[in-house]
């Protein structure tokens, strides 16, 4: 019997608590050995830049999944935002047009929430429908043509401030705000409560409807910001802009440990999930792998990451379980 402290478990516990990070390191070392250039700082910057738009949208998705909802319309939302910006707001200065299109993204989310909270239509169906309607509207505006953007938007996509690319700034700001909101405000904690049990939340005096509305608006706003980051990179929005983006976004969120059933997870994990996927894609290009192998390798690595994470949680739960009796030595 081990006496007080249980020191043997300490290291195991530490290792277990940090397995995602360890896995990440293994991955980086692996790719690094195959392609030395992979390990450069510039390349890491690149990875984060490329992960930024998915990551930002996934942060918004995290809020929605935390309340046990889902938003399939984020990709359509991105496209609407891109089409409106490129077709109607070209001539406005960015300081006006960007807030305007983000507001459009938020209203898109608000429409979703209206159907979900007022008419009690399941989120899956509402956002599935608005996915179609949104894409249809945007296609109608653009007439199926590629939408181009003003040089100021594009140079923003290539710009750096204090040596950090604009996409990373956007990613970082969205992350910090979201993290503070979720962990340090009443609203954030209520999001978790609503996700765990909406009925109990109402009884506890939480304005459940307000939380739901806010969460979908946040997801809409994040989709718009993510859309802006993406379009400033890819420079045009073709008719497939944002098409099926909901899958990688939800994948990044769930990979980051957020439960689809609500109440569990957080944005730190989401950022990790988004960056992890991009790291693998980047590593594959860096090592000049056969394109046919990309999906195989990426899915295998995601699989291993989740496998490690779930077995770790099981072990952790066992180790951290409270004990009734204090064992005597």
């Amino acid at each position: 019997m081990i006496a007080r402290g249980v020191p043997g478990n300490r290291t195991t516990l530490f290792l277990l608590q940090n397995t995602p990070v360890l896995l990440f390191i293994v991955l980086i070392v692996g790719f690094g050995m195959m392609s030395p250039r992979f390990l450069s700082l510039v390349n890491f910057v690149n990875i984060v830049v490329q992960a930024a738009h998915i990551g930002i949208i996934a942060i918004g998705m995290t809020f929605v999944l935390l309340v046990g909802g889902i938003d399939l319309s984020v990709g359509a939302n991105m496209y609407v935002v891109a089409a409106v910006l490129g077709l109607f707001l070209q001539d406005l200065p960015l300081s006006v047009s960007f807030p305007l299109v983000i507001a459009i993204g938020v209203s898109f989310g608000w429409v979703n929430s209206w159907f979900i909270t007022r008419l009690r239509v399941p989120a899956f169906i509402v956002t599935l429908s608005t996915l179609f309607v949104g894409r249809g509207l945007a296609l109608y505006f653009s007439g199926n043509k590629m939408v181009g953007f003003s040089p100021s938007v594009l140079s923003l996509g290539r710009a750096s401030y204090l040596g950090v690319p604009s996409a990373i700034w956007a990613f970082a700001i969205v992350f910090v705000v979201a993290w503070l909101t979720l962990s340090q405000t009443t609203f954030g904690r209520q999001v978790y409560a609503v996700g765990a049990d909406p009925e109990a939340s109402a009884k506890a005096g939480i304005d459940v409807r307000r939380i739901l509305v806010a969460v979908y608006c946040i997801a809409g706003g994040c989709a718009a910001i993510g859309g802006l980051v993406s379009l400033s990179q890819v420079a045009v929005a073709s008719s497939t802009f944002g098409f099926q983006k909901e899958f990688p976004v939800i994948a990044a969120t769930v990979l980051g440990g957020t439960s689809l059933f609500g109440g569990r997870g957080g944005v730190l994990g989401t950022v990790f999930g988004a960056v992890l996927i991009q790291t693998v894609e980047n590593g594959l290009v860096m090592t000049n792998a056969d394109p046919y192998l990309y999906p195989l390798v990426i899915s295998a690595i995601i699989f291993i990451a989740v496998l490690v994470d779930s077995s770790r949680s099981a072990i952790l739960e066992r180790l951290e379980r409270r004990q009734i009796r204090v064992e005597r030595g």
Binding site: N43, N144, V234, A235, T240, P291, Y292
Partner: protein, 308 residues
């Protein structure tokens, strides 16, 4: 004999090539007094089959189809044969079968070979060694595969000066192209030879090359030898500005005329060949002025200039 109704079944409208294609078709059909019905299948073979059946039940006079898969379209052809409705494949021929239909296709492999040959000749002229990257399209798309093969046909013969360091699988997807090319250039900062399987990826290429400080005109130091394919308005503009060296152009006007001609032949009871090839052409900065009238991107570009 009344007005004709023709169905236009596209699998997607992802690139300006298809968008221009459908617009040219609408115009030319209108000019002939035909009605058009449109369906987009979003790369879903089965859905496209259903669309063919829907058009058959609407009793259209002809079906123009752009299928995703060459073999999966065969039952659709047979269904059209059975209903006695002429079927024309635009830009992608079906696999061999006993079913009868007419296909119009650009000679992708040949056009790509010519384009890349031009670039290789340029390279030889300039001297030195080259690190090349190719943006490949969707691995399930015949055209993408033919263009890739055309590229390697030429490059493999010139291994001494050209080393292919990156094959970016874009899946015809702009952000995959952006990320893939960024990474490829990251891995090989000295890339100086670039070919894309479609011109619609130019904006992403421009963004990436600008970030890497590689976007320079022909003749300027640091210029990347750059070849395109399709011949859209962006390609025209970049040729004119001097960034693009060569572009393999599909003659879209000719292809639409060929397709509609095939319908008329079929209605008249004639039986055209199963495959009609558009030879296409390579356009370079030198031949720009002569050949641009045949380049569909130029007309689009002109219209855009007019609109402001």
């Amino acid at each position: 004999e009344g007005t004709k109704t023709v169905a236009l079944l596209f699998d997607s409208l992802v690139s300006p090539f298809w968008v221009s294609g459908i617009e040219i078709m609408r115009q030319k059909a209108k000019a002939k007094g035909w009605t058009t019905l449109e369906n987009i299948s979003n790369f879903d073979d089965n859905k496209q089959f259903e669309q063919v059946k829907a058009m058959i039940s609407r009793k259209v006079d002809g079906i123009l189809i752009i299928q995703t898969d060459a073999k999966a379209v065969i039952p659709a052809i047979r269904a059209a044969n059975e209903a006695n409705i002429p079927m024309v494949h635009f830009n992608r021929p079906p696999a061999k079968s006993d079913a009868y239909s007419v296909a119009i296709q650009a000679d992708n492999r040949k056009i790509m070979q010519d384009t890349v040959s031009f670039l290789v000749d340029e390279a030889k002229k300039q001297g030195g060694k080259y690190k090349a990257v190719i943006l490949i399209g969707d691995l399930g798309d015949v055209n993408a595969i033919q263009r890739r093969d055309g590229f390697f046909d030429v490059v493999n013969k010139n291994k001494d000066i050209i080393d292919v360091v990156g094959r970016v699988a874009t899946e015809w997807n702009a952000d995959k192209a952006f990320a893939g090319l960024t990474n490829a250039i990251q891995a090989n900062p000295d890339v100086n030879f670039l070919v894309t399987s479609s011109d619609f990826l130019h904006p992403q290429i421009e963004q990436v090359l600008k970030s890497a400080d590689k976007w320079h005109k022909r003749g300027e130091p640091g210029h990347v030898l750059f070849g395109g394919f399709d011949g859209d308005e962006g390609a025209y503009a970049r040729l004119q500005d001097g960034y693009l060296d060569a572009c393999g152009v599909q003659n879209l006007f000719l292809e639409v005329d060929m397709a509609f001609g095939a319908f008329e032949d079929l209605w008249a009871g004639k039986k055209p060949d199963k495959l009609l090839l558009d030879p296409g052409f390579v356009i370079t900065q030198a031949s720009l002025a002569d050949k641009r009238e045949d380049m569909w991107g130029y007309t689009v570009w002109k219209k855009m200039q007019k609109a402001g």
